[in-house]
Amino acid sequence: MKRLILPIFGILIFYSEGIFAMFSPIEVFGDNRFLVPRFLFLFILFLSVYYQSRVAYIYGFVFGFSYDLFFTGVIGIYTVLFPLLVYIALAILKLIHHHVIVVGFLGIILIAVLEWIVYQFNHLIGVTVVDFSTFLTQRLYATLIFNSLFILLLAYPFKMWMTNLRQTHLED
């Protein structure tokens, strides 16, 4: 049961993204604001820092693949981006201190990078025609604020929970 709790939590977060997406966009200050939930990515990022990086890569690949298959229908984007961004995060964290606030900020920055790459890709294949400034005002700012709320609420509980889990799993 203890082994299963992480995958089950991951699956629940995966499904919750699809449901959150049904409430977006919302209209704020006279324009549509798209709130893109990136909870799954944040979960995987925290796993890589506070649990085991190997597990995080596997989760990134498997959930990224499911994400592509089920939600976007273009296989390959998130399958590669999730593990890649985890790799970048770990490389950066080798250089700086692992405080939970630092990890939270890093999460926000990496979400911005993720959004930008996905925007460029969709622009390239002609799925979207919006220009960069519209992308910033309609999507990026709102998305970053939305995900910061998630980090504010859950970063510390995640840290405690995952470090605990790691210790109990190492003792087994």
Binding site: Y15, I19, G73, G76, V80
Partner: protein, 307 residues
């Protein structure tokens, strides 16, 4: 082997890029429906999503109910004023339906592009990254849904079925900028006379105006602001007469050869909970082709037997 290839990380990276490009190419190519492994995986994931979406749907319904309560009084007033007209309209509709049936019987017309039946479905999730305007519904091939069917809500058309697996299907909304996402449309200049209808295709969406664009309207045609836009039932599997929206502005295109009409969608394209997938009863071109093929095959068999 040179040391360049000994670097394990580099090989993983290179293989990853090749895999990425191959997979993207595979999923972006033109195709009728997704392949069976994709269908299978979608069904597996969709099964869980279906379960998770239920309590979320209840919560959403509850919030909706509270909002309805606050609007109840004004809504009641409005409905009361409409109620008086309703009896008259109902009588008219009955009369017209009977009339229509009789006239059809006289003319011997069996098939009607307007006739359709609907499959009711619930939206179980949106697309979280929200670039492609996709939603997933909880009905699939087993419920008789096929690719390219029209999808509507009670107030109007919202999109078409993009791909289908056994138990779920993905719907592409009209607001998508996908160039393949086209709907043949009719602009009703005068609601009583069909001869005045103007044809065009719904092509693309203006994200800043939040309106659909009906392009390729002949520049000689007069399109008035406020005219209704419906599906034409031409080419494909859509029935005729599903409301798409109302014209808000007409402007000539850059070369002045055709006009573009901006259309406000009749149904909100966001936040819908229940949708209807529309199946036309009249045979489409594909069914006719299939019939012809089977007939030919039967004839071939017959010939072989003769020999």
């Amino acid at each position: 082997m040179p040391p360049f290839f000994m670097n394990k990380r580099l090989i993983v990276l290179l293989l990853g890029i090749i895999l990425l490009v191959a997979l993207i190419g595979f999923s972006l190519r033109e195709r009728e429906n997704i392949s069976w492994p994709e269908q299978f995986a979608k069904d597996m994931i969709g099964f869980g999503q279906n379960i998770v979406a239920k309590p979320a749907g209840y919560a959403q319904g509850l919030i909706g109910n509270v909002q309805d309560l606050t609007n109840a009084y004004t809504e009641n007033q409005k409905l009361k004023s409409r109620l008086d007209e309703l009896a008259q309209i109902e009588a008219d509709v009955n009369n017209l339906t009977r009339d229509n049936e009789e006239l059809r019987a006289i003319l011997d017309i069996e098939e009607d592009l307007r006739e359709f039946h609907v499959v009711n479905a619930t939206v179980i999730n949106g697309n979280p990254d929200q670039w492609q305007e996709l939603i997933t519904i909880n009905k699939g091939q087993v419920n008789g849904i096929e690719p390219n069917m029209a999808v509507q809500t009670a107030s109007g058309m919202i999109g078409r079925v993009k791909d289908v697996s056994q138990f779920t299907s993905t719907v592409e909304l009209l607001s998508s900028s996908n160039p393949n996402n086209r709907v043949s449309a009719l602009i009703q200049a005068d609601e009583t006379d069909e001869a005045d209808d103007v044809t065009g295709t719904v092509e693309g969406y203006d994200p800043e105006r939040k309106e659909l664009m009906v392009k390729k309207i002949d520049s000689g045609e007069q399109v008035e602001v406020g005219s209704k836009v419906i599906t034409s039932g031409m080419g494909g599997v859509f029935p005729k007469g599903i409301l798409i929206g109302v014209v808000t502005e007409v402007s000539p295109d850059e070369y002045g050869l055709t006009q573009t009409a901006y259309v406000e969608p009749a149904s909100s394209l966001y936040g819908m909970e229940h949708v209807m997938v529309v199946e036309r009863i009249a045979a489409g071109q594909k069914d006719i082709d299939k019939d012809a093929e089977t007939r030919e095959a039967e004839e071939d068999e017959g010939e072989e037997e003769d020999e």
